[in-house]
Structures are given as structure tokens and as C-alpha cells.
């Protein structure tokens, strides 16, 4: 077993061990539990970063394989998976620190942190799966591991949201299962990402179209493509760190990642081009982008507004993937990284406001900037990044998406992107403005330790948003590797 193999496996196992440990220690041992959670997330993230340092130059290599009859569990390291793995595991560390503060007074902390860590391991499993069966396995497990987090509060609304989440996800997963079985018969049992495109060459284009749309509908649920997005806004009843991490980063990006895998690893660029499904896909994404922004505009509950914004932004990533051009793929990868790091700050800020003032609605936020200047300040700056303004990271991903659409002669997409940017400005800027100019009768409260635990990760990730905006080249090695993986330039 090489170092890479051991690390891939260990990064998944360590969070699972952490989860079992958290479940085993008594509910009163708060400090010990917090140390385990943050420690496990930190060690796991460090391992993934070390993988980046080790493996990026050498490209794809098989890491670990264990047979399940004719199906094999197969973990592989490749640039695309590594990008998602690094993104998720790094943000997990910050989200777990934030959770320590946010869940301070919660009575079911043990249950929360157990599933929180389990989900971390499963997410890395998705990132590093080397064949479709492994992917499907972790994808399905993610649904079940995150369900307890969604329904955490146990209220009627939460349970209803959980029911909706499970229904959408399981229906989506069964589409994926059907697609995998169909792929199995078409390729004669080949499910490895590295060898599927060649094995698919003999299938008729009619069959391939059915296969493609089965995958798209399946992954589209978690990627929240309209009209499959219904579960996401309701899932906002979850505790804020869950909304921030799962519903802006891990779970939704797992869906996006699935679509990317389908387009680039299962079918390959040439095959998708030959299917001539691109117009439909681009229209689907454009509609989701515009409609998502329009609906976000009308939401008064801040977290719901953010959820619709997420739906719209995820479609940017998919749009970039469907244009099938190197520049657009670079834009998609950048947007995956930047959207996650920006949106998580917005959610964190919304969570702090809700914890400190009890306000959940946009219309109530007037004047909150006065008592929570750092929080609302970060919110304001980062929301500029969401709109796509310089010097914030969001600008660069949109820039590449636009260059990609121009290079692919799809100038109409430029209009879509600009229009959506305008709508983003319309639903984000008033929040900041009213927070700092509005009046309220709130009294400044004593700073608690819990607030500190929430504020520090928020500010650090917000700083990343600015740093990436000033030095977008930092992400270049990773994004270049992904593009080089799928386009022979």
C-alpha cells in the first residue's frame, strides 16, 4: 500500500472513528466531544491536503480496491475528486468549530456531532470513489447520514422537511441505480470511471440519451436543478451549520459532482457532444439560474433567500460543465470552490444573527449591523462577491464562465449571467444597507465564548473570499489539472 492509498483510506476512516468515539462518550463530556470533533475534521482535512501535495503531479492513480462480488469498492484519486475532497474537508473543519458555538445550548449534541462526522467521511468517500458503484454507495449513505441533521430540532416542520428530503433523494437515487444497471448491461459490467467511455462506444445514441437523462435526473435532485429543487428550501429548518455546510457545500455539491462525473468521466466530452443534448441542458440551467434568483428576491426569511440563491448559483456550475469547453469547465470548477466558500460565510452570518438577536427575516434585520458589526460586515463584503464584483473571488469564476460561453459561441448565456448578477445585487445589497443604516431598539449584548466560536471561522473564510479575489492564481494548479484531465489540449 503506497502512502497515497493509506491516506485516502485514513481520511475516511478517521472521521468514522471520531464519530464512533463521540457516540460512545457520555453526553455530559462536552469539552472532550468538541475536541474529538474538531480534531478528527482537522486531521482528515490535513490528510487530504497532503494528498494534494503528493499526488497532483502524477495524475490519476488507482488507490484501493476491495471486491464486493462482481461489484468492487474502488477508491481513486483524481484532480476532480481531489478538488471536491479538499473543498469539503477544509470547510468541514470551520463548520465544526462554528457548530461548537452554535450548538452550545442544544440537548442532543451527541446525536448531532456523531452524524456530523459520519457525513464528513461519506463525503470524502464520494470524492474519492473510483467507480460508479462506490459512488452510488456513498451517495446513498449520505442521504441517510444527513437526515438526522436535517430533522435535528424534532419539530413538526423539521420532520416534514426531512420527509421531503428523503423522498426527493431516494427517488433520485433510484434513477441513478436504474442508470447504473443500464450502464452495466451496455458496457458488459464495466463501471470504472477510467474505462467507461471506451466501453460505451458501441451503444446506440438513443440508448445513450436515455442513460444520460437517467443520470441527470438522479443527480439533479441533490444538485437542485429546477424542478427538482423542492427539498432544499424546506431543509433550511436544519441548524444553521448544517444548512451552511450541507446545503451550500457538501450535499448539493455532491449532486453537482455527480453531474460532472456523468458528463466528463462516464460519457466524456466527445460522446456528450455527439448526443446533441447540449441545448436542452443549457436552457435548463439558464431557467434555473434566472428563476432561482427571481424567487430569492421574493423571500423574506433570510435562510430561504440564501437557499434559492444556492439553487441559482449551483446552476452556474452546471452551466459551465455543460458548455463543454475548457474555459467554461475552469469557470465551473472555480465557481464550485468560490461559491462554497462565499455561501458558507453568508449562512454563518445569518446563523449568528439568528442566535444573537432571534431575527430570521430580512425585514427585521434593520440596524443589526450596529450591534454585530463584524458579522454583518463580513456578510456585506462577501455578498458583493456573490454578485461577482472585484476584488472578490466570485468575479473570477463568472469571468471564466463568460469567456467560456463566448468561446463556445453561446453569447446568449452572457445575457443570462449578467441578468442574474443584477438580480443577485437586488436581493443582497438591501440587506447590508438596511443592516447598517436602519434603526432598531436592540441593545448590544455581552460577547460570549459561543459567539467567538462562531465569529472566528466566519471571518477566516471571509478572508479567503478576498484573498482568492486578489490572487485567483492560487487555485490554478488544481483547476488546470481538472481541465487537463478531461480535455486533451
Amino acid at each position: 500500500m503506497s502512502v497515497g492509498v493509506a491516506l485516502v483510506l485514513a481520511s475516511i476512516v478517521i472521521t468514522t472513528i471520531g464519530a464512533i468515539w463521540v457516540a460512545a462518550i457520555p453526553g455530559e463530556a462536552k469539552t472532550q466531544r468538541h475536541c474529538i470533533v474538531v480534531g478528527a475534521a482537522l486531521v482528515s482535512a490535513a490528510m487530504v491536503w497532503y494528498l494534494l501535495y503528493l499526488g497532483l503531479g502524477s495524475g490519476t492513480y488507482p488507490a484501493f480496491r476491495v471486491g464486493i462480488a462482481s461489484l468492487s469498492l474502488d477508491l481513486t484519486l483524481d484532480p476532480l475528486g481531489l478538488t471536491y475532497g479538499i473543498l469539503a474537508s477544509t470547510l468541514w473543519v470551520f463548520a465544526s468549530i462554528y457548530s461548537v458555538g452554535y450548538m452550545e445550548h442544544d440537548t442532543k449534541q451527541r446525536q448531532y456531532f456523531t452524524f456530523f462526522l459520519v457525513s464528513a467521511g461519506i463525503t470524502l468517500g464520494i470524492a474519492f470513489s473510483g467507480n460508479l458503484f462506490t459512488f452510488y454507495l456513498f451517495y446513498e449513505l449520505l442521504t441517510f447520514a444527513t437526515y438526522p441533521l436535517v430533522v435535528h430540532s424534532g419539530t413538526k416542520d423539521a420532520l416534514e422537511a426531512g420527509r421531503k428530503y428523503i423522498r426527493y433523494s431516494l427517488v433520485g437515487a433510484s434513477f441513478i441505480l436504474a442508470a447504473i444497471v443500464m450502464l452495466w448491461t451496455l458496457t458488459g459490467g464495466v463501471l470504472d470511471f477510467s474505462s467507461i467511455p471506451a466501453a460505451l462506444a458501441t451503444a446506440s445514441s438513443g440508448q445513450l440519451r436515455i442513460l444520460f437523462f437517467l443520470f441527470l435526473i438522479g443527480f439533479g435532485v441533490k444538485a437542485a436543478i429546477m424542478p427538482l429543487h423542492g427539498w432544499l428550501p424546506s431543509a433550511m429548518v436544519a441548524p444553521t451549520p448544517v444548512s451552511a455546510l450541507l446545503h451550500a457545500v457538501a450535499v448539493v455539491n455532491a449532486g453537482v459532482f455527480g453531474v460532472l462525473r456523468t458528463v466528463y468521466s462516464v460519457f466524456g466530452v466527445d460522446l456528450v457532444k455527439s448526443l446533441s443534448v447540449r441545448p436542452i441542458l443549457l436552457v435548463l440551467c439558464s431557467v434555473t439560474i434566472i428563476l432561482g434568483s427571481l424567487i430569492a428576491l421574493k423571500q423574506d426569511v433570510l435562510k430561504r433567500r440564501l437557499a434559492y440563491s444556492t439553487i441559482s448559483q449551483l446552476a452556474y456550475i452546471l452551466l459551465g460543465a455543460f458548455i463543454l469547453h475548457p474555459l467554461a469547465l475552469a469557470g465551473a470548477m472555480l465557481h464550485m470552490i468560490f461559491h462554497s466558500t462565499l455561501k458558507i460565510v453568508l449562512f454563518f452570518a445569518a446563523g449568528i444573527v439568528a442566535e444573537e438577536t432571534g431575527y430570521l427575516k430580512v425585514s427585521e434585520l434593520g440596524g443589526t449591523g450596529r450591534i454585530l458589526p463584524v458579522t454583518m460586515g463580513s456578510f456585506g463584503i462577501i455578498s458583493l462577491g456573490m454578485i461577482g464584483m472585484l476584488p472578490l473571488s466570485g468575479f473570477w469564476s463568472k469571468y471564466y464562465l463568460m469567456r467560456g460561453s463566448l468561446a463556445a459561441d453561446a453569447w446568449i448565456l452572457l445575457v443570462v449571467l449578467l441578468l442574474s448578477g443584477l438580480l443577485n445585487a437586488l436581493y443582497f445589497i438591501p440587506i447590508t444597507v438596511s443592516a447598517f443604516t436602519g434603526t432598531s431598539d436592540l441593545k448590544p449584548r455581552r460577547k460570549t465564548k459561543a459567539l467567538l466560536f462562531m465569529l472566528v471561522p466566519t471571518v477566516i473564510i471571509a478572508a479567503f473570499g478576498v484573498i482568492f479575489g486578489l490572487y485567483p492564481g492560487l487555485t490554478l494548479p488544481l483547476v488546470d489539472a481538472v481541465v487537463a484531465q478531461f480535455f486533451s489540449l
Binding site: I68, L71, S174, L177, W184
Partner: protein
């Protein structure tokens, strides 16, 4: 020597269980009732190890026959040991042992009196012996005898508690099962008239030469078998007796009936269809299409009925009807993947449903709540039991890493190999419906806020051990199914009469 041991083991498994069954009333004269119970558990454990040994021998050295009393077939009774027998013997052992272990904890309290408990042990062992007999037998007469023993024994253990509802359910069950037996007997009669034999290998030889002379008679005869065994194994729409019988019995009885008893008849059906009549003839008759269709209807209808139930045990009973549909679908597909899926589903449904019924029994007994809508907070009161129930649910839905996925995957491949896309749809839809009728139980138990603070219930460690044993079996079959899967596909190959692949 080794060979003689192997040959005799086939009959020893059945005989040992039969004689243990009859010793039970004597053993219970000992003051400590536990002695008798643990003796029964030990015998079942021995039967399991015998089954594993036989299966290993069959895999290594191929099939063999054993002439009881030294009288060769067609005059004597012949046991025929192939991968089918090995597979079913293992299934029986793996499921019956933990069920007996679970039952041993408070059997006397459950059934009412010490003497009733003694009879329960006898009948339970008789049922297991009859199922083992069905696994190893090679002739139709024996099949009939074993089917009758199994039927009477299972009727009796439904009535173990002796209250009005379970006696009524038993009566309904007895009536329908007797009608089923009648059909089976008619079918056997037809085959005897057509071929002059009761030994299945001889029947197969006769039929392969002469079946085209009387196709209608064969048709009618197979329909009799289908209806007869269909009633007994609760094939939709012949299932009407099952929900009452399986939901009113005590937990170990429900588990035994739902997981093993009905599978015995399915094994008998498989033997008649694929061994006596033969794959070549069966697949040319439309009877397999009918089985596929009935299987698909059963999957959906059973699951829809299950959704409508609020009582936990009734929901599980209807779930059995849906899952039996999967097994019949596989039989109807009639290709290697379909039949492998059938065998794998026999094993995975047996372990899973036993686990679900036993866990449900513990939940109902310790909280006194039998309805799903009342179960809020049960998860906090008995986390291990409800956790085991969760494992069972995930396996039943067919999530990878649990045994249910392995069987459903084979069935999916089998459907696609036949180009039957409707079956693919039904299989996937059935899984979704299974999620719809099982996950709400977990939601109520774990996540719904209880009205009053739950009291921690102390489930006995022996019962927990039985549950955990089944959990371990389900997960290990799900994670490393290679061995069982090889045995299952060997069994399917044997039935299809294909060359055994190296």
C-alpha cells in the same frame, strides 16, 4: 470414512431435529426449563454447522445422492444434495438459531404455561426439521409429507398464545393451507400419472422424452403446483391468510413463519419446476411469464397494502407479501441472474425479516405500543433494538452494504438480461415503497418528540445477542457476499442445468 460421514449427515440433520422435537416434552420434565430451550438452540446450531459443512462439500465435490435405508431409487427414498439444498440448509440454520435464542428468554410468559411452552419447542423443531427435509429431499412424496408437517407445525405455532385473535387467524390459515395442500397433491398425482414416478430425477428423464405428447396435462399440473404452493407461500392474490397469521402470533413465531416457513414451499416449487419438470420445458411454457407478472403485482400491491397499515407487525406482514413477489419474479425470469437473485433474496429476506419481527416484538413488548403512530421516543428508550431495526430496514430497502442490495442487484441484472424493463421499474419502485413503509417507523422512533419522557427499557442481553447475530449476518453478506453468492449462483446453475462454471 469422510465420505460416509458426509452422506449420512444429509439424513442426520433431519433425523436429529425430528428426534430432538420429540424429546422436548421429556426434557421439560427437568426442573429448569432453560435446559430444554438451550438444548434446542444447540441442536439448531449443530444443524447450521452441518448445513455449512454440506454446502462446502457440495461446492468442492459436486452434488450427491443418498438412498435412505440402502434402498435405491425409484423404489427407495432418495435424498438429493445439491447447491440448492446446501443454500437452504444454511439459510434455515442462520435464521432459526437466533430466533430460538430470542424465544428462550421469556417463552413461558409469552405462551401462557410451561406445558404450552414445551409444545411450542416441539412444534418449532418439527417445523425446522420439515424445512430441512424439503431442502434435501429428492422425491415428490417426501415433498408432500414435509409440506404437510411444515403446514401443521406452522399453524400450531401461530396459535401458541391461545387467545381469540390468534386462534381465529390459525383457523383461517389452516383452511387455506389445506386447500393449498389439495392442489399440491393433485399436481403430484398428475405428474405420477404422466410419468409413473415420484422420484424427481426419473420424472425429469421421462418428461424430457414425452412431454410434447400431453402439453395441456402438464400445463394443468403445473398450474396446480403454482396455486398450491402459491397459497402456502402467500403469493399475491393468494395471500389473504398471511397478515392475520403473522401479525397475531408471538414475535418468534411471526419471525419464523415470515422468514423461513414460506420459503420452504418456494424451495419445493423450485424443485418441482426446475428439477422434476426441468428448465428446458418450464421456460418454454407460459407459466414463467405468469410467475413474473404475479411477482410484479405482488411487489407493488404488497407494498401499497403495507403503507396503509398502522400496526407495526401488520405492516411487516404485508411487507413479506411484497418481498415474496421479488422471489417469484426471479423464478419467473428463469435466467441465471434471476434465479441467483431468487436464492439471495431467500437468504436476505429471511435474515432481514426475522430481524425486523424480533426487533418489533421487543419494541412492542417493552413499550406496550403496537401502532407506529404511538412509537415516538421508543428509539431513545431502546437504542440497540431500534438500531437493529434500522439495519433491517436499510437492508429491506436495498441499500448497498446490506444483504438486500446484493439480491436486488442480481434481480435487476436478470430483468435486464430478459429485456424486461417493466420489471426494472417495478424492482426500483418496490424499493422506494419499502423505504416509504419502513422509514416512517424509524422517524417516529428516533426523531419524533415523545409526549412523556421515555423510560429506558431493559431488553435482555440474550435477545440483544440474537438481534446482533442477525445484524452481523446481514452486513457481512452485504459487504463480502462472495461465498454465499457463489453458492447461490451454483444453485441457480444446477437448476438451469447449465455447465457448472469453474
Amino acid at each position: 470414512m469422510a465420505l460416509a460421514f458426509r452422506d449420512n449427515l444429509a439424513v442426520l440433520v433431519v433425523v436429529a431435529l425430528l428426534s430432538t422435537a420429540y424429546i422436548m416434552p421429556l426434557l421439560t420434565k427437568i426442573r429448569r426449563f432453560r435446559v430444554a430451550e438451550y438444548f434446542a438452540v444447540a441442536m439448531l446450531g449443530l444443524a447450521l454447522s452441518g448445513g455449512i459443512y454440506l454446502a462446502r462439500e457440495i461446492l468442492l465435490h459436486g452434488t450427491f445422492t443418498y438412498a435412505v435405508g440402502g434402498w435405491p431409487a425409484p423404489w427407495g427414498i432418495e435424498l438429493s444434495l445439491d447447491a440448492v439444498s446446501g443454500f437452504f440448509l444454511i439459510t434455515i440454520g442462520v435464521v432459526a438459531t437466533p430466533i430460538m435464542l430470542y424465544a428462550s428468554v421469556d417463552l413461558i410468559k409469552e405462551v401462557g404455561s410451561r406445558s404450552r411452552a414445551a409444545w411450542f419447542l416441539t412444534l418449532f423443531l418439527l417445523l425446522v426439521a420439515a424445512l430441512c427435509g424439503l431442502a434435501v429431499t429428492g422425491d415428490l412424496f417426501n415433498i408432500y409429507v414435509m409440506v404437510e408437517v411444515a403446514t401443521i407445525a406452522s399453524c400450531a405455532i401461530v396459535a401458541a398464545r391461545n387467545d381469540a385473535t390468534s386462534v381465529e387467524a390459525t383457523f383461517k390459515y389452516l383452511m387455506l393451507a389445506t386447500i393449498g395442500s389439495g392442489f399440491v397433491l393433485l399436481g403430484i398425482g398428475f405428474l405420477f400419472v404422466l410419468t409413473g414416478n415420484l422420484n424427481m430425477n426419473f420424472i425429469a428423464q421421462e418428461l424430457s422424452m414425452s412431454w410434447q405428447k400431453y402439453p395441456t396435462a402438464l400445463w394443468v399440473c403445473l398450474s396446480f403446483f403454482m396455486v398450491g404452493f402459491g397459497v402456502k407461500s402467500a403469493l399475491f392474490p393468494l395471500h389473504v391468510w398471511l397478515p392475520d397469521a403473522h401479525s397475531t402470533a408471538i414475535a418468534p413465531s411471526s419471525a419464523m413463519l415470515s422468514s423461513l416457513a414460506i420459503k420452504g414451499y418456494i424451495i419445493a416449487l423450485l424443485k418441482v419446476f426446475y428439477v422434476a419438470v426441468g428448465a428446458k420445458i418450464i421456460t418454454r411454457l407460459p407459466i414463467t411469464d405468469i410467475l413474473t407478472l404475479l411477482g410484479m403485482v405482488a411487489i407493488i400491491a404488497g407494498a401499497l397494502f403495507a403503507l396503509a397499515q398502522d400496526e407495526l407487525k401488520r405492516r411487516l406482514a404485508f411487507s413479506t407479501i411484497s418481498q415474496v413477489g421479488y422471489i417469484f419474479l426471479g423464478i419467473g425470469l428463469g435466467n441465471i441472474h434471476g434465479l441467483t437473485g431468487t436464492f439471495m433474496h431467500i437468504l436476505s429476506h429471511a435474515t432481514t425479516k426475522a430481524l425486523l419481527f424480533l426487533a418489533a416484538g421487543a419494541m412492542i413488548k417493552h413499550t406496550g405500543k403496537s401502532r407506529i403512530s404511538e412509537m415516538a421516543g421508543v428509539g431513545a428508550a431502546m437504542p440497540v433494538t431500534v438500531g437493529a431495526f434500522a439495519v433491517g430496514s436499510l437492508s429491506m430497502i436495498g441499500i448497498p452494504l446490506f444483504s438486500g442490495f446484493v439480491s436486488k442487484w442480481q434481480l435487476l441484472l436478470g430483468s435486464l438480461a430478459n429485456g424486461n424493463y417493466l420489471a426494472v421499474l417495478v424492482l426500483v419502485g418496490g424499493s422506494l415503497l419499502a423505504a416509504a413503509y419502513l422509514l416512517p417507523v424509524l422517524r417516529m422512533a428516533f426523531f419524533e418528540r415523545p409526549l412523556q419522557k421515555p423510560v429506558v427499557a431493559n431488553v435482555s442481553y440474550v435477545q440483544l445477542a440474537a438481534l446482533l447475530f442477525l445484524v452481523v449476518v446481514i452486513i457481512s453478506v452485504g459487504v463480502v457476499p462472495d461465498g454465499v453468492l457463489q453458492l447461490a449462483s451454483e444453485a441457480a446453475t444446477a437448476l438451469l442445468g447449465l455447465e457448472v462454471l469453474p
